[in-house]
């Protein structure tokens, strides 16, 4: 079993892997190699060839993202910023935290490498409010790295200088949206910005900026050290690249976060987490955080990779799946998620601000037994217009589980109508509680 991101782990004291522990397993070798042997263009080329895609949910090819930042001739010489998005608030998602609390130096090394590739001048980590202890530990790791010459002026004796600062989020889901994060960082309302201009040309304080997920950045050291081929070969499927932190939650016997080659099947992952809790039947899985559509039980042999999931009408998202057993009502689960999205809307655009509560109300009707058959189509149509027509991806993400719900569980919705309420005893109790 190849563990790359988590090759160094927290000790028995619960403290994250120290810089020595990290270096003992080959940490900072990639940085040393890159600073010595690679030009920034070459590093970008390697990352491009490695097939690394963003691990934050959208899955955008990272090398491509790096190449958008003006470099060399096109760079005016002013500051350019690397932002690490550690504002992990997607429901069901806890992979960045695991990385953060096990192996922070992988992130630090990844950030320095990314900065080297894109010729960035300053790095910031935007951390979720609730990760208090992890952030404290991360700041200690930064000090370690600085003392070891991995950060700050003239890293490893090269001419490259770069430092990382930590920013604790005000604590809203929308801050995880790339441009809203930048606004929040600037001290403004966390409303998303319109694109174009893209952050690569006009981001933080109007300067070229790249925003990356924690896990994406942590993948970079391995690529720098071992090359693109090595990274590609880590995957379980030929089209994939690298490993992935898969998290499982919900009705699992042993929910946890594990690192596996990307493209491992969902069934294998569920089995590794002890199968469905209490030996119950599996009903459905949401594969990658709340903004991805349901996968019904009969499709769980799908490899957990970008393309494969898109083929069956879902998305990899963050790769942290939520398992529904035969006891769990997907309608109720969706309602719960929709309440979250409606609550976390920044209130900027109409479909998200007023459309999501509208959807919540319709789902409540199903759960409380006041819905009619027409409400299923109303729900479908509502989200068909919310999803593509809202300003940022928040409401679009909120529309995904509804899409899956209606595609795979229409009979269940109809049952909610005919039986005047939720047919699942547990959900019914929750509704009336």
């Amino acid at each position: 079993m190849t563990e790359v991101l988590l090759r160094a782990r927290a000790g028995t004291d619960g403290r994250p892997a120290s810089i020595d522990a990290y270096r003992a397993v080959g940490g900072y070798a990639g940085l040393a190699r890159a600073l010595k042997d690679l030009k920034s263009d070459e590093l970008i080329e390697i990352v491009k060839q490695s097939g690394l895609r963003g691990r934050g949910g959208a899955g955008f090819p990272s090398g491509m993202k790096w190449s958008f930042v003006p470099r060399g001739e096109k760079w005016d010489g002013g500051p350019k910023y690397l932002l690490c998005n550690a504002d992990e608030m997607e429901p069901g998602t806890f992979k960045d935290r695991v990385l953060f609390e096990q192996n922070p130096h992988a992130l630090i090394e990844g950030m320095v490498l990314a900065a080297y590739g894109m010729e960035m001048t300053e790095g910031f980590v935007f951390v979720r409010r609730e990760y208090f202890r992890q952030t404290d530990d991360f700041e200690k790791a930064l000090i370690e790295a600085r003392q070891a010459g991995m950060l700050g002026q003239n890293i490893l004796g090269s001419r490259f200088s770069f430092d990382i600062h930590v920013h604790r989020s005000g604590g809203r889901y929308i801050c995880g949206e790339e441009t809203a994060l930048i606004n929040a960082f600037e001290g403004k309302r966390a409303n998303p910005r319109s694109k174009p201009p893209f952050p690569a040309t006009k981001g933080l304080w109007g300067r070229p900026t790249t925003v990356h997920n924690v896990e994406t950045l942590a993948c970079v050291p391995g690529i720098a050290a071992n090359g693109a081929e090595w990274f590609k070969n880590l995957a379980a499927t030929p089209e994939g690249a690298g490993t992935k932190l898969y998290g499982g939650s919900g009705a699992l016997e042993a929910p946890k976060c594990i690192e596996r080659p990307i493209g491992t099947t969902l069934r294998a992952l569920i089995d590794e987490m002890g199968g469905v809790r209490g030996g119950k039947q599996l009903l459905a899985v949401i594969p990658g955080g709340a903004s991805t559509p349901f996968i019904p039980a009969d499709q769980i042999d799908v490899p957990m990779d970008y393309a494969a999931l898109e083929k069956i009408g879902s998305r990899l998202g963050t790769g942290t799946f939520i398992v529904f057993s035969e006891d769990d009502c997907p309608v109720h689960g969706t309602l719960n998620m929709q309440r979250f999205f409606a609550r976390e809307s920044c209130g900027f655009c109409t479909p998200c601000r007023d459309g999501l509560p509208y959807g919540v109300e319709i789902l409540e009707r199903f759960e409380q037994g006041r819905a009619t058959m027409a409400d299923i189509d109303l729900l479908d149509q509502l989200y068909a217009f919310i999803g593509p027509n809202s300003f940022c991806a928040l409401a679009g993400g909120a529309a995904e589980p509804i899409k899956g719900l209606i595609r795979h569980f229409r009979p269940l919705l109809e049952e909610h109508v005919t039986s005047k309420g939720c047919p699942f005893a547990r959900s019914r109790e929750a509704v009336h509680a």
Binding site: R343, G347, T350, E361, F391
Partner: protein, 799 residues
């Protein structure tokens, strides 16, 4: 120039045009809430969704966020876009209260329009509506946050466009709140625009509250009479009551904006203290008889003592027609009568000098739209937001568009965050302007000079109150030198000044010389036997001149404001205010603009409601509705004195003016409601006038100046305006305040003429200057720059 098809119509638009504007060009009005042409697109409301077919692919996009590209086939009529608009309406109505019947926005509410257009009438959700506490926002604006549809227009106007800092947005999700941090009056001088900015009824006009439905209003195009910018407005009246004023779009002047003074300063029209009836000392009440008696008396005096025994005075708030009718009166037996077109001798001299400077500089006029379009703009000798608020708003847009703005003034309280302010003693403005022209000076002055010389589109705007003769001369010289240096390369140099009153330019252009000082001196000396004073205020006259009025054998006053003149007159003729009459004002940049009657004068039907009932008797004419237009009265007097033929109509008097003074001929083409005609100042061969230099000796010097609210002669009669303006405050430099221990109530003594008022230290005011609002009433008005002694007031000292 991309060519697109919009709703089946081919249209070519300039590159960079968004699809909302492109739709407008093709005749489709794309519904919008958050988009506004002056505030730009943010894509918040999502109602402007259109379907775009391009390269055989169809997608839905927001029209405001999408630039027109060649080959686009855009439609608002396909089922997808229709359905999207329906949904947006339904979403917005989730939280919008059901209070249209009592909402003043009803009838001009974009949300109401869209709700009806999309046929949304049944509520399909059982969601309850969120509510908010409202805030007190001053005497002008009512806040009703429940109605908010979160388009962010108010915040974008108030903060981004107008530079206000005391209003913003809080909260998130479906509980976004637009308000101040604490309830309280808006600090911005442009808060009134929120009423028009808001697409629904969150911000409504408090003065118009529950008065009328907008469709019932009688509306005519008019011109704002509260400063020399000449903003275009649409006053609305109903039941013979003037109820509100709104901006009328004119890109060359005010765009779609107004300042609070213009929007809420109309209280003087319906003021109960306004003299509305003909008042003759002999008790005549019939207009025809009164005109006959007055004309006869005037003629008698002129025959007995000669025309020069008659003084004719009007002011900058009178229309061009009135100014000319007054001149026309001075013929026949009245030939040789002494005429002044101003009510304030200092302002007369400075206005004449300004016009002469404009005429000789050889530069292009600096209109409002040019202010925003300059790349380097120098403003000198004025606190612009106080003297001409909308010019200050335009200057802010200049800075927002990347232009560099320099302010050479003793006080700048609006542009400080976007402009380079060079705090300058009024007496030193001339020196600074000379330094700009010669490229000397240091620091900010040098930077301003350098910027001006390198500018592609330089602009120079000179003030009125805080600018002395040498400074005006230096400014004109600077404009001339810019014309010389820029003219050869074809770069336009724009030069403008401010004038007193809405028709200061017109009054100056009509004047043959600066006559008022002489007239008032002779009035004091008792040399006049008769005076005709038209729409003027005697506040700027010396007490002796005011006293001499009472001793005049014949005082004829035409006005719509109460005051000492109206009280003293033997023959008082009520005149129609701007919104009640037809005429022309010439704004500060020489733009002649017509205004048309909105309401007939007289008591309103609403004022006469008693015991839940309208007046139960029938009558043909309104009570106290005798006022006439001033030029008509003057022309009727002319008929009875000079003996010329019938009283002329509006076109007749304009024809006569064009015949007598060919420079005024363009006026014949001016129509109320059009964009106006720019007059060339050089065509008037303006009289030369000398305005003295401000002294800068030791000690404190007093300067009278406007303030945005409360100092202007018409608007300060309005009750809410007085409340919002507060009591006048004298401003001194922090250094002087510390040195002389000033603060709280002080007494100002300028050569025996003393007043008592609040005093405050203001950062940026240079040492040696006391700035006093114009509305402070002095026993004897001190000259600008007069030496003044400031002491803590006795009451304060005793405490």
């Amino acid at each position: 120039m991309p060519e697109i098809v919009f709703d089946g119509k081919k249209v070519t638009v300039p590159a960079g045009t968004n699809l909302v504007e492109a739709g407008g060009a093709a005749g489709t009005s794309v519904p919008v809430f958050c988009y506004h042409k002056d505030l730009g697109a943010v894509g918040a409301c999502r109602v402007c969704a259109v379907s775009i077919k391009q390269n055989d692919k169809t997608r839905m996009a927001m029209a405001c966020m999408t630039e027109a590209q060649d080959g686009m086939d855009v439609t608002t009529l396909d089922p997808q876009s229709r359905q999207m608009r329906k949904w947006v309406t339904e979403w917005l109505m989730v939280n919008h209260p059901h209070d249209c019947p009592i909402c003043d926005e009803g009838g001009e509410c974009q949300l109401q329009d869209l709700t009806i257009a999309t046929e949304h009438s049944i509520r399909r959700t059982e969601l309850k509506k969120r509510t908010f506490e409202n805030q007190y926002l001053g005497e002008f604006i009512t806040h009703e946050m429940n109605r908010c549809i979160t388009c962010y227009r108010c915040q974008r106007f108030y903060q981004d466009y107008a530079g206000g800092r005391d209003f913003g947005v809080t909260g998130s999700r479906d509980r976004v709140y637009f308000g101040r941090f604490e309830p309280g009056a808006f600090e911005s001088a442009f808060s009134g625009n929120l009423v028009e900015m808001c697409p629904t009824g969150v911000f409504t006009d408090k003065l118009f509250r529950y008065k009328s439905r907008v469709w019932d209003l009688e509306i005519s195009p008019s011109i704002c009479p509260h400063c020399s910018v000449g903003c275009n407005i649409l006053p609305g009246a109903r039941h013979r009551m003037l109820q509100r004023v709104r901006a009328r779009e004119n890109e060359a002047v005010n765009g779609v904006f107004l300042c609070d003074r213009g929007q809420f300063g109309h209280g003087y029209i319906m003021d109960p203290a306004r003299p509305r009836d003909l008042r003759m000392s002999d008790g005549t009440t019939d207009w025809d008889a009164a005109l006959g008696v007055t004309g006869g008396a005037l003629l008698e005096i002129a025959r007995a003592h000669g025309g020069e025994s008659v003084a004719l005075i009007t002011s900058t708030r009178a229309s061009v027609e009135t100014h000319f009718a007054l001149e026309a009166l001075a013929s026949g037996a009245l030939a040789g009568a002494r005429i002044s077109h101003f009510e304030d001798a200092d302002r007369e001299a400075s206005a004449l000098a300004s016009l002469s400077a404009l005429a000789t500089a050889g530069a292009q006029p600096l209109e409002q739209s040019d202010l925003a379009g300059c790349d380097v703009l120098v403003i000198a000798g004025t606190s612009l937001v106080d003297e001409a608020p909308l010019a200050a708003l335009a200057a802010r847009q200049c800075a927002r568009r990347g232009g560099r703005v320099f302010v050479v003034s003793p006080l700048e309280r609006y542009l400080g965050d976007v402009a380079t302010v060079i705090p300058t003693h009024p007496a030193a403005v001339a020196g600074t302007l000379e330094a700009l022209a010669s490229g000397t000076g240091d620091g900010a002055v040098a930077a301003a000079g350098k910027a001006l010389m390198g500018a592609q589109k330089p602009g120079l705007l000179l003030g009125g109150d805080l600018l002395d003769g040498p400074a005006l001369a230096a400014g004109a010289a600077l404009a001339r030198s810019l014309v010389r240096s820029h003219g050869s390369s074809g770069k336009p140099v724009r030069f403008g000044t401010l004038f007193p009153g809405p028709n200061g330019f017109g009054a100056a252009a009509m004047s043959k010389d600066a006559a008022l000082a002489g007239i008032l001196a002779d009035l004091e000396a008792g040399k006049f036997k008769a005076a005709v004073v038209v729409e003027s205020d005697a506040a700027a006259w010396s007490p002796r001149a005011r006293q001499a009025l009472g001793n005049l054998p014949l005082l004829i006053v035409l006005d719509y404001l109460p005051g000492i003149l109206a009280d003293t007159a033997q023959c008082f003729f009520p005149t129609e205010a701007t919104y009640e009459s037809n005429g022309i004002y010439v704004n500060r940049a020489g733009r002649a603009q017509g205004f048309a009657q909105v309401r007939v004068p007289g008591r309103s039907v609403i004022e006469e409601i008693r015991d839940d009932s309208f007046r139960r008797s029938y009558q043909r004419t309104p009570n106290e509705g005798g006022a006439r237009m001033a030029w008509w009265i003057l022309d009727a007097l002319r008929k009875r004195t000079v003996g010329s033929p019938e009283v002329r109509d509006l076109a007749g008097i304009r024809d006569a003016l064009a015949a007598a003074r060919p420079a005024w001929a363009p006026l014949r083409a001016v129509l109320a409601g059009d964009e106006g005609t720019v007059l060339d100042p050089a065509a008037f061969q303006p009289a030369t006038a000398t305005t003295p230099a401000f002294e800068r000796g030791d000690g404190l010097r007093v300067f009278r100046m406007d303030r945005t609210l409360g100092s202007e002669v018409l608007s300060r009669r309005s009750e809410p305006m007085r409340k919002m303006a507060g009591t006048p405050v004298a401003l001194v430099s922090p250094g002087d305040a510390a040195r002389l221990k000033l603060g709280g109530r002080v007494s100002l003594d300028a050569g025996g003429s003393a007043v008592e008022l609040e005093c405050r230290a203001e950062a940026g005011v240079p040492d040696g200057v006391v700035l006093v609002p114009r509305d402070v009433e002095w026993p004897i008005l001190p000259k600008q720059g007069a030496s003044v002694r400031v002491t803590a007031a006795l009451a304060e000292a005793a405490r």
